[in-house]
């Protein structure tokens, strides 16, 4: 196994983990709400900007002394605020489309994503330009003769932990049971004294917060935060969820790994591949959808008369 190949594998797993953090949110929201929250990617990538604001605000107060606590605090605040933004979007906009045709919610959330992007561009100081984003973990470690960036290990570890916690929450806690109940039958859940509105907000918070982790990692991976990152990342996260089958959490992870694998492969093998990467990703999406319209692990809904 050559050094280069190993680097590519590390790259693949890192990217796949980041995509999975965002794709899981798409899938979770679809499973519960039955609508596509198209702006989920844009919500997720708000997090780096929140983190930057907190870090620069606190950094000027505390000086160089507390740079690590400031960084951690910034990340924590960013994750919490992004989760809150998800809830806010539900309260202000998405809630209105619960009973409307699925297409309307889709178009509305596409527009919502555009609005979020533009708001960053106009409200964040110098929002149109890229902003440097710190690499969260520095350094390398030698594993079995190969050097692995600690950052990749951290990404994989945190992603596994977050997604694991999500699975645990869904399967073993009261809230998780409520979420499952609402996703299966909203009205029956209401009869069991579960408030669907509360569950929707909880789901939005959880999905947006996990997405925020993904957004932070992505910016850190790229070394910068850009307002238009969310177009690509949102589309890739959504594609991963669709390839795996919307509503299926394991599907979202498999889809993310597939897309990240293709992405890495294309960039490594195809000349000038970086500029074609989305072409290949979407060809994969289209192929999967043509042969398995509900994704790889999706429930196939056949309408019968």
């Amino acid at each position: 196994m050559s050094e280069l190949f190993f680097q590519q594998v590390v790259n693949w797993i890192t990217l796949g983990s980041i995509y999975a953090l965002i794709a899981v949110g798409f899938s979770l929201l679809f499973g519960v709400l039955n609508i596509i929250h198209f702006s989920h990617g844009d919500v997720s990538l708000l997090a780096p900007f929140f983190a930057l604001s907190v870090i620069s605000a606190l950094g000027s107060v505390m000086g160089q002394a507390g740079s690590l606590p400031v960084l951690l605090l910034g990340l924590a605040v960013a994750i919490a605020v992004t989760g809150a933004v998800g809830v806010l979007l539900d309260l202000v906009v998405i809630q209105r489309f619960r009973k409307a045709p699925a297409m309307m919610a889709l178009v509305a959330t596409v527009a919502l994503g555009i609005v979020l992007r533009e708001l960053i561009r106009h409200l964040f100081p110098n929002g149109s330009n890229p902003h440097a984003f710190p690499r969260l973990v520095d350094g390398d470690i030698t594993l079995a003769g190969y050097s692995v960036p600690l950052f990749s290990l951290a990404v994989v570890a945190v992603s596994t932990l977050s997604v694991g916690a999500l699975f645990f929450m869904l399967n073993n806690t009261r809230l998780g049971l409520h979420i499952k109940a609402v996703s299966q039958d909203r009205d029956a859940a209401r009869l069991m004294a579960i408030s669907p509105g509360r569950i929707f907000r909880a789901t939005f918070f959880v999905a947006s917060a996990i997405g925020a982790v993904g957004g932070l990692f992505f910016s850190s991976y790229a070394g910068m935060a850009r307002f238009d990152f969310s177009i690509d990342v949102g589309l890739i996260g959504f594609s991963a969820a669709v390839v795996g089958g919307l509503g299926s959490m394991p599907g979202a992870i498999i889809g993310s790994l597939m897309i990240a694998g293709l992405d890495t492969l294309v960039q490594a093998v195809v000349p000038n591949g970086a500029s074609y990467r989305l072409v290949f990703v979407f060809l994969l999406v289209i192929c999967v959808l043509v042969f398995r319209p509900s994704g790889l692990l999706g429930r196939t809904l056949v309408e019968k008369v």
């Binding site: 596509i36 297409m103 959504f238 000038n272 500029s275 072409v279």
Partner: protein, 389 residues
């Protein structure tokens, strides 16, 4: 109040008056809007437009009256419409910028009408109209630049190429629906944009430059148009060309709406399963909607390419598709007049409110959300189908 049909002669006269007055008022309004320089005047005109809409909605009798007048005097209405459209450039007093805005608005009107077949009639989300527009533009420009094909041959050729791509795009729609289909169309749009941006023969990010100016019977479209001794700026050539395209598109849209195809699309929108049970070939009509959309978008793309003379991938991004979608939603789905008004409004507003031009994308996004939340039927709601008149 007497029933309209009880006074045939007086009614015919008043109907004729209405048919004469309404287009003239509309054209006058558009002229003032186009020539308005001050943003306060623009906002005032918008407010006036809103008041007219509200009044029409509050007084359904007036609306029905106008509608029946147009239905009765349809020939006169057509004649008045043609005269107004033909005469409109003269009313602009040689203002080239206003004429340019008219051309762009009309091209967007064609695109919005094209999307309306899917979004409005059949309720299929399609985020790839911008891509079809681009394919049309690039196909015709490449034909003209590489093979010296004239505009008049490139026009249908580009439409055919765009239609083929529309069919291709429609194929996944045989199996996928709703959100999945929306993703496929978005993916298609992004793929087309990235390919245009990276391929060698499309000129990459620099696009194609120096697309030749069309000629007709020895009259180059870059020359001023002289009619009855009146000289109009060169943009007028394209004004008439795109007006013709809008006219064809309207006829096309109306004929389709009234035909079995339009009915089938509406049935799909109402309930796909029920439509299938009625023996409607759902797949075929979906693919057809994609093809028709791409066909009209291809025409619009060709005219755009030859009008501006320079195209680059950034003219045909995902945002263009979203803009077109905004026009359809804001104007009123499945309402031809509404879609055209939406196209004009949303093309002209950002141009007129230049002070806010940096915020135009934000403005589009907010417009879509507000319309979907407050008035999902758009400015002009879709009409109930009427039979027997």
């Amino acid at each position: 109040m007497a029933h309209p049909s009880s006074q045939p002669s007086g009614n015919a006269l008043s109907a004729a008056f209405i048919v004469l007055a309404v287009p003239l008022i509309g054209a006058g309004f558009l002229r003032q809007f186009l020539l308005a320089e001050d943003w306060r005047l623009v906002l005032g005109l918008l407010a006036l437009f809103a008041v007219v809409l509200v009044v029409l909605e509050r007084l359904p009798a007036l609306e029905t009256r106008i509608e029946t007048a147009f239905a009765r005097q349809s020939r006169l209405a057509l004649l008045v419409g043609i005269v107004v459209v033909l005469g409109f450039p003269f009313a602009l007093g040689g203002n080239t910028y206003a004429l340019h805005l008219c051309v762009i608005s009309m091209l967007y009107a064609v695109l919005a009408l094209a999307l309306n077949f899917q979004l409005g009639s059949a309720n299929i989300p399609n985020f790839a109209t911008g891509a079809s527009y681009g394919i049309g533009a690039y196909a015709s420009a490449l034909l003209a630049l590489n093979f010296g094909v004239s505009f008049w041959l490139a026009l249908p050729a580009a439409a055919v190429v765009a239609t083929i791509f529309g069919f291709l795009l429609g194929i996944p729609s045989m199996r996928t629906r709703d959100s999945y289909l929306a993703l496929v169309t978005i993916a298609f749009g992004v793929v087309v944009h990235q390919l245009l941006n990276n391929l060698e023969f499309t000129g990459g990010p620099n696009g194609l430059v120096g697309i030749p100016v069309p000629e007709l019977f020895g009259h180059a479209f870059s020359d001023p148009l002289v009619i009855f001794g009146q000289s109009l700026p060169p943009q007028a050539n394209f004004y008439y060309l795109s007006a013709l395209l809008v006219f064809i598109s309207i006829v096309f849209a109306e004929r389709l709406h009234d035909s079995r195809v339009g009915l089938a699309w509406n049935a799909l929108r109402a309930d796909e399963l029920a439509a299938r049970c009625q023996g409607i070939n759902v797949t075929w009509y979906k693919v057809l909607a994609f093809a028709v959309d791409a066909f009209l978008a291809g025409f619009a793309g060709t005219i755009y390419a030859f009008y501006v003379g320079f195209i680059s991938p950034d003219n045909f991004t995902f945002l263009v598709s979203v803009t077109i979608m905004t026009m359809v939603i804001a104007g009123g789905m499945d309402n031809i007049l509404g879609v055209i008004v939406g196209a004009f409004l949303l093309t002209l507003l950002p141009e007129k409110l230049r002070a806010f031009s940096d915020y135009r994308i934000l403005f589009f996004g907010v417009t879509v959300i507000l319309f979907l939340m407050i008035r999902p039927q758009g400015l002009f709601p879709q009409r109930l189908r009427r039979y027997g008149d």
